[in-house]
Structures are given as C-alpha cells and as structure tokens.
Symmetry: C2
Subunit: 426 residues, 2 copies
C-alpha cells in the first residue's frame, strides 16, 4: 500500500500554526476524552484534534474494512493489532479528507463541528494499554558515561554491550501521558561512606531523554522475529521520559538491574507518530564496532534523524533548554532491538512499548540525562533565571521535545511535559 | 467477614480422591474452557471443575452483590478488583453449596449437570491477564548459592540484599499455564575462555522453583502500601516455574539484570489458591539478620508453611523428584515485598503477579534450581531411570508441586507441568 499520506505537496483546508509538528503529512494516533466526556481514538492536524470514532460513525471510512467500534476504545491496542495495511488506509483517508482540494468534509459544517476539537476541549489519555515495557540501553555514549560514573573509568563499556542491544524489563503500570505530575519518590540509598542504607526522598532525581516504539502483535511464543521483518511490526514512536532516582538505582541495581530507581514513573508524548510518517527521515546509524552475529545484521537506513531537546521549567519560571540530542546517535536500531528481544522466542503483543534508553550524543551539550550533564552532580547546569541544577528539584517541569525536518516538511512529536511534585503525603 | 469456607470439619457431597489438594476447604479460582468451548471462571473441588458463571446464571449467588457477567470473563482481573469482601463471600457460598448437609444443588440433577465438569472435559487457561510481573530474589540460600557461582565465593551476598527484597521486572507476555510446552531458546553466550559470544541453543536450561502472588488493584500512582496493610491486597498464590537459560543470563545480566535468559517462558499452576485458604498454615519467617528500615517491619506470622517439590520426567519415562523445599524458607515475606515495591509510589493493578524468586532451603537436597542442585553442572543429579541431569534436556517435563498439610486439612496447589521442546524451526 502506498504512503500517499506522506505527499509533501499536500495542503490542508484547516488553519495551521507556523512550524507545527502536526502538518497534514503527520497524522499521528492518540486517545482522548472529548468535550462530552466520551473516550475516542483520534488524530491531530495542527492544533485540531480529530475524533476518528465520530468520522467513522459518519461514514467517512466506509471503504476501509474496519469494525464499527474500532475507534471507540480507550486504547489503540485493537487498531494496532489490525496491522499495517489498516493503519496506512486510515492515514491515507484522513489525508484525503483534510486535503485542501477536497470539499467532502470541509463543506459539511455539521460534520466538521462533530469531529473537530480544539486542544483545550480535550484531555489526552495513554494511547495504548502497555502490556510489557522494555527499556533498552542503546546509546554508546550514554552507556559509556554511566559506566564511568557508576563503575570503572577504564572499562566503562561492559563486554556484552557491543555484541547485543542490552535491555531490561520495566514497569508498565507507572507509564503516564504528558501532563500527569509525578511525586518525588522515597526509597533506600546508601550515604557516601556509610555501611547501612537510609530511607528518604531521592536527592538525585533525573530524567532520561528517550524515545519508544510501539509494536503490533507479531510472533507467537517460541518464534523469533527476523531483523529484516522487524519494522513491519512497529506501529510508531513516542517521546519517552524515563525518570530515574540515581541514588536508589546505585544502591539497588546489582545484581538484578534497575527497579525502584525507575518504576515510580515514566512519561510519554501522547500522539504516536507512525513509522510511515517518519519515512522521509531515514538515516544510517553508526557503523558497528564489532562484527555482529547474523541475527542482528541489518541493511540500509534503519535509523531516523529526529532532533531532540530537553527543557527544565522551574515553578512559575521561564523554561531553559538544557540539552539537544538526536535519535540518530543510537548505536542499536529498532530492528536490532526487536530481533534481539524475540530471538529466544519471547512473544510481543499489540501495545507493547520498547524504549531506546537514554539518547546521549557525542558532546557534553548533547547528553540525555542530568547525571551526565552535571557529571554526577559535579558540574551544575545553569538555567536562564540564574539558578543551577545538579538534579531535578520539586516543582520543576521537565519537557522533552522532538521533531524531524527537511526542506519540504516537518514531522514532530509534540512534547512530554512532567511536573515533579514534592514527596506524597497520605 | 468470616472465613467460614475454611471450616475443617466440613464435608462435601462430591466424591473426592484421597489426599486431594482441593478439598472443600480450598476453593481456588481459575479460568477454563468448558466442553462447549465457553470460557468461564471456575473453582475446583477434588477432581471436579465447577463453572461459577453457570452457577451465577442459575441464581446461586443471588445474595452476593455481583455484576451479571463477573464470572463470564477470560480472566479473573475484574473479580479480583472487586476486593476481599467479594472473594470471601463467593468462597463461603461455594462451601455452603457443596456442603454434605446442603441439598440445594445436590438434589438438582439438571443444575449439577450444568455446572460440574470432570477435569478431562475442560482446558485450563491463564487465570489472570498479567499487567506487570515482578520477580523477587528473596531466598537467602538461593542468592548466596548463585552469588558464589556467578560472582565471588567470599562475598556471595551483595550488600543491599539484607536490607531490601531485591527484585526485577520480568516479562508478562511469556507466562503460560501448566501444560503449555516451551521451546529450548536460542541466544548469545560466551564460551569458556572466549572473548566473543556465539549464538545457539542454551546448553544450561534450568527451572526455578518459585511461588507467585496475585494482587488486586490497590494504590494510586505515588501512594505507598504500608507493610501492615499489604496482605489485604493479595488475592492468592500459584506455583511458578521461572525457566532460565543460565549461559545467556551469565553473559547478559550486567549491568541491567536478567533479560533473554528469562523471558522465553515462565509457567504457573492454573488454580489461584486464596490467601484466605492458606490461613491455617501461617508461620513466622526467618528472623532478620540486620535491623530493618521501618517500612519493611512486619509483625506476626507473615509466611506460610508450604511443602514444595520438583520432579523431572524424561520423555516416555518415569518422573524423579529431584528436590524438596518449603515456602517458609523465604527470608523476605510477601508483605515486605509489596511494601518495598510500592514505597516509591509504584502503582499495583489487579492481576499483577509477583514471584518469590527461587525457593532454596538450607540443605543441598532442598535447592530450587538445577544450577544449585548440580552446583553449576559439576555434580550431576541422578534420575530413577539411571540417567543423569546437569540441566534440563529436550523433551524433559518439569513438574512443580506444592501443598500445605496439618492434622485436619490439606490445601494444595496442584502442579505446574512444562515440557521442553527442541529449538523452534520455522
């Protein structure tokens, strides 16, 4: 099926703000509560949210084989499970309906009023019910930086790292969409020089600049997904903020990996941008340093040129961008991650989420966490208001943004914005 | 609400086999396909499966506030979310209906024929849709044994172990009920003395003798569950076989913990035995070696005396019991595990599963994995047929069993039986 929706010359009859992340070439998918408190699957063009459930009820998708309630759901899981042909048909049809040359919907004011919402009329929800969430660790720069600080300056990268996309299972239940505040967690930490841990609020609260991909139901228990087929099982991507309590993490992570240092909250941008929409921004990733085992070999452009940034906004203050990175720095691509994850027969379901791990670039200005930016707290980061940050403080809002841009089109992810509240009081 | 269902003097009008794990005092919950291919929630007494959906439709639960379709579901998640009062009411009512002194159902042959199934007429399913699965590491003996083999004979137990129930997030998608075979996984491993990994089938396929508890929806994001309240959020327990590929695990586990060495398959016994049914078997666990942080303190008998065993059955051969252990050896109890898991505000949902970690006892005959029983492959385990096992071989079936017994009653879990198939061929 063609990617007609990607046509860069297409204009829409909707009014768009300049430089929007959501031109008619994007057509991402999300779930929202409407002004009537109905939950629906929708898309976004410019600053309009579009109710796909209502469009379907009005007959605008009659030529696509879809069940009646496919969009009247509180998650995209079933729609995603329908597979790539369905996603493409719906994206192409939405592009057609909002095309400046098409009067079909434009001229029907009643239907327009039914399906179009301004952003302040809706409330974005989690786009998928995440069955399993995996967090990879696929930036060589990040793994090296953390290895230097947590372990050994000389042998920062562990021997397995260059041979496989190392990852761990994370907690699905604490993934929230942009806008949901998260309390500073309490837990165990080992004070410097002490033998025994103490209990209290984390003093090293961090973000991690990541992206995540969402899968469709793919393999069965026991069946690997080959790397060359992996992309057909990837629905799309979101920005992912993997909040971390470094003091908890350092104390607990051996031998079984991150646990309470991570599972108090992660946040995502609410619109899933399809892999199809990202097609014009394919690039090759870094060349492998070591010869790869055959199941991890991939050909061609399997990475994407996605500009990323993180800003911190102090309470009632102006935001400061503190790092700029790019998804293309990832050493391991998504096809390799999915092939590795399933090579032992591990099944993947519709709505599963796999995050990249912190995306750090090669220079200190492109590091993807406070741990790295402040080098373990030793180099405070300056904010515009004159304040400094070693880690995140109470009432700070952390905002991740990402977009792709070429001379023809900009495809963006919007943002994931998360305010940190003080410790929870019962 | 009283635990009337536990009355040890109660007899049932059903014929029971001697020494059954499922007397009328057990009344566990599960999900099965009936002879008419309908999926329903049910319970088990002796060797009868009882269709709770049908019982409810016939009006036998009319005095309990239940939605019409509460049992006509493919998972127990909604029933579990209804909370402890509902579980207790239903267990008490089932006990009453099958009580030898009660003619109500006994005398109605038509209704009996509708609700009762022999075990060969049904097919057990996963009892819950597992949102998140966590695996703890709470046996001191196991952690010490693994530490000696994987790391350092002298410092086997890492410093954090005595201060917190260490755990990691596992993979929900590959948890299957008893009876589902699992293929020997392929993956990366580092040959002895080599610098570079190779790819192939695991040569160190292992079981782990564990139990898991199933939670109800409890806290909200940000809110800890205090250890003294934790048990009210635990629905019940199952046997849990955490299959492991030791060669993969050893190569991959640093620094982020177990991943492909574990997520190819885990298996559970299909009947969830309620914590209520286990009440007569409470015992105190081991005394803490270190003073605990206050949020981990518990009072009274928070562990359970559950006899456990593992058998290996070679293809077409006789099974050999290779280890006998007991749940009461666990250093950290379930209340401590749940309090720790949520102390940072991590939310827990209905149907979440938390496994104990391998339950090894103090003697070599009570170790809970082949890794420990064969001491890293150096001491082969003898089977009845004269064969030896260092690890699990193709077409071996691994069977975990568990039960509690006192002078009045036996409450058992049945078994989880898993056959290992050769490597998957596409």
């Amino acid at each position: 099926m063609s990617l007609k929706a990607n046509d860069p010359s297409r204009k829409t009859w909707l009014d768009l703000p300049d430089n929007t992340d959501f031109p008619i070439q994007n057509i991402p998918f999300g779930v929202f509560l409407t002004r009537d408190d109905i939950i629906t699957i929708g898309t976004r063009i410019g600053d309009f949210a579009i109710d796909l459930g209502a469009l379907h009820q009005l007959g605008y998708f009659k030529d696509i084989p879809l069940t009646d309630d496919i969009f009247l759901q509180d998650s995209l899981n079933d729609f995603i499970a329908d597979g790539r042909k369905t996603w493409r048909s719906v994206r192409n049809r939405v592009a057609e309906l909002f095309d400046a040359k098409n009067d079909e919907l434009k001229s029907n004011q009643k239907d327009r009023d039914t399906v179009l919402f301004t952003l302040d009329e809706i409330e974005m929800q989690m786009p998928v019910q995440v069955g399993d969430y995996t967090d990879f660790y696929s930036s060589k720069e990040h793994a090296t930086n953390v290895g230097k600080m947590f372990r050994d300056e000389e042998n920062a990268l562990l021997p397995n790292w260059l041979h496989a996309p190392i990852g761990y299972h994370g907690r699905s239940s604490s993934i929230v969409p942009s806008g949901i505040p998260i309390h500073r967690p309490q837990g165990q930490k080992l004070p410097k020089g002490a033998d025994e841990p103490i209990f209290g609020p984390t003093r090293h609260l961090d973000f991690e600049l990541e992206m995540a991909f969402v899968t469709t139901a793919s393999n069965h228990l026991g069946e690997p997904i080959p790397s060359e087929d992996a992309e057909s099982y990837i629905f799309g991507m979101v920005l992912f903020n993997d909040l971390s309590a470094r003091d908890f993490q350092k104390w607990e992570y051996q031998p079984l990996g991150p646990f309470l240092g991570k599972n108090f909250g992660s946040a995502i941008s609410p619109w899933i941008v399809t892999l199809d929409a990202l097609e014009p921004f394919r690039v090759e990733g870094p060349k492998p340093v070591k010869k790869l085992l055959p199941y991890l070999e991939t050909k061609g452009k399997k990475s994407f040129d996605i500009s990323l940034s993180v800003a911190i906004k102090p309470d009632n203050g102006e935001e400061s961008v503190i790092t700029k990175s790019n998804f293309k720095y990832m050493y391991w691509n998504m096809s390799q991650q999915l092939a590795h994850h399933t090579v032992n027969g591990c099944p993947v379901n519709s709505g599963d989420m796999m995050a990249s791990g912190t995306i750090s670039g090669p220079t200190p200005e492109s590091y993807g966490s406070m741990l790295e930016l402040s080098w373990g707290g030793s180099k405070p980061v300056k904010l515009k208001n004159g304040q400094e940050r070693r880690y995140i403080e109470d009432n700070d809002t952390v905002i991740l943004r990402g977009y792709c841009q070429n001379h023809e089109v900009r495809i963006g992810f919007g943002e994931v914005s998360t305010k940190i509240l003080p410790v929870f009081k019962s």
